[in-house]
Amino acid sequence: MFLHFFFSFIATAAFGVLFQAPKRTLAMCGLVGAIGWCIYKYLGTNLEYSSFYANFAATVALSVFAELFARVAKEPATIFIATGVIPLVPGLGLYKGMNMIIGSNYDQGVTILITAATDSMAIALGVMMVASILRVLHVRKLKKLI
């Protein structure tokens, strides 16, 4: 698990460079990605959750941390979420599904593609849920001040 944490940290930070993130946020990007990947890995392999729930839980945890770092570093949360989600995002599923379909294994290909679609739906749900809950809290705080 430590190796997973270490390698996903470096991989996500390198993705921060690919996405031209500001230099001082790279370490935080890596941390967000590593947290998401470790939770996904733990839930998926150790506790044997289905990949939808594992992705969802990992994304929720990751976006909470991303919003936290965004408040600390005074940067938009998109920076941390766009890079942190990278290890979870099912790009590989898209590739494998397309590969199967090109090799005319339609059944397996479509299965993999649909799994990829539901996984990314879980990720999108997680990101949007945290963002909208925070927005509601923010609006309530503003109303109290007024």
């Binding site: 190796l3 997973h4 390698f7 996903s8 470096i10 991989a11 996500t12 390198a14 993705f15 921060g16 460079v17 690919l18 996405f19 031209q20 993130a21 500001p22 230099k23 946020t25 990947w37 005074k74 940067e75 938009p76 998109t78 920076i79 766009a82 890079t83 989600v85 990278i86 290890p87 995002v89 099912p90 790009g91 590989l92 599923g93 898209l94 590739y95 599904g97 397309m98 590969n99 090109i102 090799g103 990829a116 679609a117 990314s120 739906m121 990720i123 999108a124 749900l125 990101v127 949007m128």
Partner: protein, 266 residues
């Protein structure tokens, strides 16, 4: 309302529209989600007390204008998009600190226009190195051994170098991905020929990571959920097309190898 002491006071309606369009163009060119672009532009207009402007943004166009027939409207076509989070962060600072912004209209437009041509903070060789590092780490995370780590490092780096060298010819996105896939396939085959402990799957899986459109796909689904149906369609179909093109590139090289190269090798 603009009731705070700011450098940007008493702008005319046209000036506000120009400012908002410049901000939207920067955001969209540098990889922001469409809902975010619309949100920033309308918020900028609200700040200057203009409430009747409509914005419609898809990944390729910004349409911006009002509902009356006398009003002006602006259209901006976006042809190339890349991801540059530094610009997003700068624009975010700008729109949130409008109240304490000290420069006037001309200086602000200059600031935004220079940002459009500004070089990104990392040069292309550093990008190639980052691609190599992330490929290697993903190969390790997704179940490769030490040989795969080195091989994926080489493969990811070579693919990005090929892409950057060919970038001067301005290939379309489809060909760009086909070439990247082909470069990955060829280099991975070379590495497998060098060392017996390399596994083809782990190398390609790691090296493909920087090129796969997983993030675009997820952003497309996010657009669907936020109600931006057209941009959701655009992004999802773009992602599927990219996945298809990179697979065609990779599979083409592998098929050629199995048909002809294998016999030559023996």
């Amino acid at each position: 309302m603009n009731n705070c002491c700011s450098g940007l006071q008493s702008l005319t309606r046209e000036q506000v529209m120009n400012l908002a369009l410049a901000v939207g163009k920067l955001l969209l060119k540098n990889g922001a989600e469409t809902s975010r672009v619309e949100d920033s532009m309308t918020r900028l207009c609200y700040h200057f007390g203009i409430y009747d402007l409509n914005v419609f943004v898809t990944p390729t166009v910004i349409i911006f204008g009002d509902e009356t027939s006398e009003g002006k409207s602006l259209v901006c076509r976006i042809r190339t998009r890349s991801v540059n989070l530094t610009v997003l962060s700068k624009i975010n600072n700008f729109t949130y600190n409008l109240c304490s912004w000290s420069q006037g209209y001309e200086a602000t437009m200059d600031y935004l226009n220079t940002m459009l041509e500004e070089k990104p903070p990392y040069n292309k060789w550093l990008l190639c190195f980052a691609s190599a590092v992330s490929s290697a780490c993903f190969a390790q995370v997704l179940g490769g051994n030490d040989h795969d780590f080195v091989a994926a490092f080489i493969t990811g780096g070579v693919a990005m170098v090929v892409l950057k060298l060919l970038g001067g010819y301005r290939p379309s996105a489809f060909w760009e991905n086909v070439l990247a896939g082909a470069a990955i396939g060829a280099t991975a085959l070379g590495c497998c020929a060098m060392s017996r402990q390399c596994t083809m799957e782990a190398i390609t899986v790691g090296a493909l990571m920087p090129f796969l459109p997983g993030l675009a796909f997820t952003n497309g689904l996010r657009d669907y959920m936020a109600g931006d149906l057209i941009s959701g369609n655009c992004r999802v179909s773009e992602a599927v097309m990219f996945a298809l093109s990179i697979t065609i590139g990779l599979a083409g090289v592998l098929v050629m190898w199995w048909h002809w190269g294998w016999q030559l090798w023996r």
